[in-house]
Symmetry: C2
Subunit: 465 residues, 2 copies
Amino acid sequence: MAQPTPSQHARSTRRFADVDEPSAAVWDVVARVDAGELATAAALLHNLHPADQADALAALDRRERRRLLDRIDSHTLAELLPFLTPEELEHVAPDVALPQLTAALDQASAQLGADVLHAIPVGDAETVLDQLPKAGLVEPLLQHDDQSAGGIMAPELMVLGPHLAAEQALSLLRATAPAPTVQDTVYIVDSEGVLLGSIGLHALVFAPPMTALRDLMEPVGPTVMTDMDQEDALKILQRFGLHSLPVLDDDGRLVGVTTADDLLDIAQQEATEDMYRLVGLVDDEALTAPLATALRRRLPWLLLNLATAFAAAAVVAAFESTLARVAALAIFLPIIAGQGGNAGMQVTTLAVRAMALGEFDRHFTRLVLPREVVIGIASGIAFGLLVGAVGWVWQDNPWLGVAVGAAMLGTMIVAGLFGLLIPLVLRALGADPALAASIFVTTATDMLGFLFFLGLAALLIERIT
Amino acid sequence: MAQPTPSQHARSTRRFADVDEPSAAVWDVVARVDAGELATAAALLHNLHPADQADALAALDRRERRRLLDRIDSHTLAELLPFLTPEELEHVAPDVALPQLTAALDQASAQLGADVLHAIPVGDAETVLDQLPKAGLVEPLLQHDDQSAGGIMAPELMVLGPHLAAEQALSLLRATAPAPTVQDTVYIVDSEGVLLGSIGLHALVFAPPMTALRDLMEPVGPTVMTDMDQEDALKILQRFGLHSLPVLDDDGRLVGVTTADDLLDIAQQEATEDMYRLVGLVDDEALTAPLATALRRRLPWLLLNLATAFAAAAVVAAFESTLARVAALAIFLPIIAGQGGNAGMQVTTLAVRAMALGEFDRHFTRLVLPREVVIGIASGIAFGLLVGAVGWVWQDNPWLGVAVGAAMLGTMIVAGLFGLLIPLVLRALGADPALAASIFVTTATDMLGFLFFLGLAALLIERIT
């Protein structure tokens, strides 16, 4: 999401106790619109913080939102739009009249322009671009994947040549009107626009006035290319503890910058995606998505889950005659399945999160695989002995204890191995390592766990009956 | 974690393709130390980016790390320490000689000072504080919970009175030597230190020289109190799209600031915590934690999981006589359990993530609960019909199809309800809503699912046999 300008924070002086709840004033605006009191609603809205204004707009129905939008000036609109989530923006942006939207975007950052143009129909986006004075800043962002550094970068920067003296530099910056997105850094480029270094505004202001920028600047630190995935840009920013990261084109020219606050939103999105995908949910589902959308998105994965559950059931079916002789065997199926599934999901969760944070590969070959095998064996022995003893005492049969205990050991080892292998295989196939991993992991542990247990029980059937 | 100063980024000009791997130079340093070539290792280390230096130190064994530390100057140490993870810091910091550590912390931010003092024994921390010239900046941070805004804030700020003219203000700032943590904002306070407003350095530099700060400043926007939980501070920073958030004491005095890049680390930690807790993993386990630690942390949760699995097994045991008459019933247990558990975990994951992002409460009463019930019923009907039909055809018995189909419907409704209720109850009890939620949810769906299915089968037993 694009960043708001400082002036937007001016209207809220409240301190926060319950941060989950928007202010009551938001619901007041919504109630006034519902009651048809549009003039009052617009006046109330005008006094809110833009974040609250955005909440109010997002909470309205389409028809009522349109009525309220007619009463909002383009400056207010420009200030509140950055506070809509990408999902809300897709609902709200198409409701704004195109001339009003164009006027708002002219007062907003190029990042917001690109976000909004992604959210409205292509034909409308072209109309807005045709009319937009700052189209030249927005268009380059649209040419990049909206998940790449080039798609999320801010192009509004303080950029100067290396030969200027500090004093001249400040005069020049004073002459260039609008506030840049990164306000604490001046970038130094050569005549081709290739990045040579940077200098903090703080350092520039306090430097000897006649010193040339090339003598003041810091060399170029970590940079990213326009086509780098935003997740990788996030990893670099975090690895090097930066506030902002210059974005270069193929020729090394500075074309924009990504910042920690942009990437914070992305970090949250990516974490949400991983958590959702682990249990077979689609990325952008929220608890408030429309019912039909929610069903359409969840049912296919639950269907896949069902298909894999039938695979586990088929293993049980193969041993129906064994179960017919000793019905008590069925009692232990949920124990095998529950324990194996949970142990497997623990390993998968660790692996998926380590991959997302860029902490996976550097340790993997040396440490992780052998370690998970050892953990699987150790916890398998512990739980195998425990479950075996319980099985023996409960069913008063030592051989049943042996079967369930040995099966538990095997299942825990399988859980460690598959819990690690499934995200690895998904990633090697070019899929997200979290993609429905829970479904695949529990299927593996169910099938192999049942096979171990019922297979052993079948072998020992004369002693168990 | 504390922020590095800009000069630290100077040494790395590489562009990044594989961001998961530290540079080969890191392993080179480690190899030289292992080979006893300490002088070469120290020289190589000196040329690395501090992030890579930190990786090299973290990768060494304790004894070898101590030998290398002896050859590192305190300035280099001050630059690399911010790049250690909290876990790595706990291993590395106690290995540094106290005089060297004190000298390093004097050149580092107060945030880093607090992080390091948390990571070493209390007695050592007191010794360092006694010797540290900037102890006055570090001590206030130590008095707050290290998960609170007061514990993570940076106290190094540009702070001025309201009556100064812009020109005077710049001269004064020039006279105060060290670079502040937030370099783009000057905070305006009254004679008591109470925050009155702020002005961007960018705006200050380009303001008419004789204008008073009180006429230039923006009013106070969102702020947080020292004792606010860092997660809530993160939500506010995100909600209002800010780069930084002033931290006030009980009297409204400005005592520090938290920034987007600090909170980015926290956002990642919190997401990791939630993902881990959902499957019953303890917060700070990593794939590389020592084996004994990993076992000690995972076993208790797996033991809890086992206990709950026995509860589900007890339900099956209660129907042993039914299973003895129709062994084929056991085939359907994994289907009921697998489908109910996955559907429940989908809802729990949605709820936990919505709570973490502060998006839960405002929609809950109006939308979420009724919606999840409807989704449970709709998917329950769909899967009930499907599984019932398969059960009928597979086992050639319509009544078995009825039992399994109806049980599936009941299980899906239970999954939606418990998937939502369990995180709510955990939160109401003051626990983390994600705490081992998967274990509780799957236990509920297993037990009730088995009860529905085997109970119905027992009622229909004459028709099923």
